[in-house]
Symmetry: C2
Subunit: 308 residues, 2 copies
């Protein structure tokens, strides 16, 4: 078991999860915890852009935790999205911006969640409450997380608070946030070197509710047809995942970050759930265009969960 308190975000880490675990670790240290930021998977191209920009290295990767390990969770709480062994670990704190589900403790804990667009926005407030300085590195990590989770403030998950913090950080960092953000988002859309399996794993979240198990995976792009041209390979990889993980449904979401639309591919025994959830029929190729839909958290997961 690690003596330190391990701080990490969800599996298939995205930019918010990776950046927020580093940001939260600095706060935990400030509050007297011997904390270390770790991660539950490979960083993606978008996050790589952030690390290269700052000239820093990604944190250590772990795959499970031992019994009694002290942990702090950021950017998630659901069991299926968390570390292996968590049920026997001791959760000291959670800092999050998602719904709460499948999360149980035996002891009281710190749980700070707000319905903002990004975990880093919650952390910005906590830094201010604790009078903790936001230096260039921490500020850039915060800004990058907000840009990533809100698609440069264009996602419906983006709140006034996210915009306010984005503006403050842009001023503090003396950076052109829009230019930086577009470059960062574009770096994340480059999937040319990835296999279909890697593409569907890139940002996949698993949900378990009412006895049903399903995955919603998402990929950002500047051109939907670019990704959709690989549909055959992607569907094949999805079918394999459904068989391997005994999923009832797999929804793959291709999100156009320029025009803020998404095309989804739905496979699995319960694929009519997607039709019910979005009030449209799937095309013959199991796909459906969702106008104005970009957010898994706000526009895709809730209708699926409500129609279970």
């Amino acid at each position: 078991m690690d003596d330190k308190v391990l701080v990490f975000g969800h599996k298939n880490p995205d930019t918010d999860t990776i950046c927020s675990s580093i940001i939260a670790t600095k706060l935990a240290k400030h509050l007297g915890y011997d904390a270390e930021a770790v991660r539950l998977g490979k960083i993606n191209k978008e996050t790589e852009y952030v690390f290269n920009y700052l000239g820093i290295e990604p944190q250590r990767e772990i795959s499970k935790v031992d019994e009694g390990q002290k942990i702090i969770l950021v950017d998630h709480n659901e069991e299926a999205q968390s570390v292996e062994g968590r049920e026997k670990a001791e959760v000291i704190a959670v800092i999050d911006h998602h719904r709460i589900a499948d999360f149980t403790t035996t002891m009281p804990l710190y749980y700070i969640a707000k319905p903002y667009g990004c975990t880093a926005t919650v952390l910005f407030e906590l830094y201010q409450q604790h009078n903790l300085e936001i230096d260039k590195e921490i500020g850039t990590l915060m800004l990058s997380a907000i840009i990533s989770d809100t698609l440069l403030l264009k996602s419906p998950t983006c709140t006034e608070k996210d915009v306010e913090v984005y503006n403050k950080l842009e001023e503090m960092l003396e950076i052109n946030a829009k230019e930086y953000g577009l470059n960062m988002l574009k770096a994340g859309t480059d999937i040319s070197a990835l296999t279909a399996k890697e593409v569907i794993d890139l940002d996949a979240k698993e949900f378990m509710e009412k006895g049903k198990k399903f995955v919603v995976a998402q990929v950002n792009t500047a051109d939907i047809s670019d990704v959709f041209s690989r549909k055959e390979d992607i569907s094949f990889a999805m079918e394999k995942e459904i068989a391997d993980k005994k999923l009832d449904l797999f929804v793959f979401v291709i999100t156009d970050i320029i025009n803020t639309n998404s095309k989804i591919i739905a496979l699995g025994e319960d694929k009519e759930l997607a039709e019910k959830a979005f009030g449209q029929e799937l095309d013959e190729d199991d796909s459906m265009l969702l106008e104005g839909v970009v957010s898994r958290k706000k526009q895709i997961a809730p209708p699926l969960l409500e129609n279970l």
Copy 2:
């Protein structure tokens, strides 16, 4: 459905739950919500003392909420302790100091929980963060809640933060907190006018986990033998409750607030769970003295839950 956001604590309300719902309502109004404090049951003698001291009336009582009702929970999160109809209500926020269990939402929300001795201590911090003035009434409600939940700072649930806030409030209110607190606690121990059924209902919490259903009810006293002299009637009322609610276990805790010990009575099919949890055998009369044990949350519920 009520247009207002309803703010309430747990069933069988205690002083923290009642006071914190009023304190949280003022904060919610300050943040722009049209909020109203309500309660899920009769106030107890201890809380009555607080209301009489302040010359104010208890809030309105409700028994259930309609579908879509906007609600804010304080001092609890577990389904079994909350309002009827909650599964179809919209939880906007939770302010709490308990473990998290049996709590699921479909949408993100405000969830502010800290492992402090009292919900009002969490609220004190929130008032400070939002620069909201703590007047005499709100301050007295906060102090009363802290005194009640920490047994005048003597419970093991009491944290440094509770002590700090207690001291600040004592100074702000220009009150002798110990004298006020002892009078308040003593007012709460007067159960002479209550039936045995009312005594076991006074501060009962229901738990549901791993298919087991159990209740831990607690009563404070200045003299355990005083309450224990009514054991026959109390056991009878407990047996009836076990039958009516199909409980696997009922633990009744008589807590000596002067010497900080508790005597428990354990009944139900799973009463050996109490023996396992506390590492002692029950006496022939199904009772057991627990030296130094005063906190259901920290010293009674966790060992029971861990030995399920």
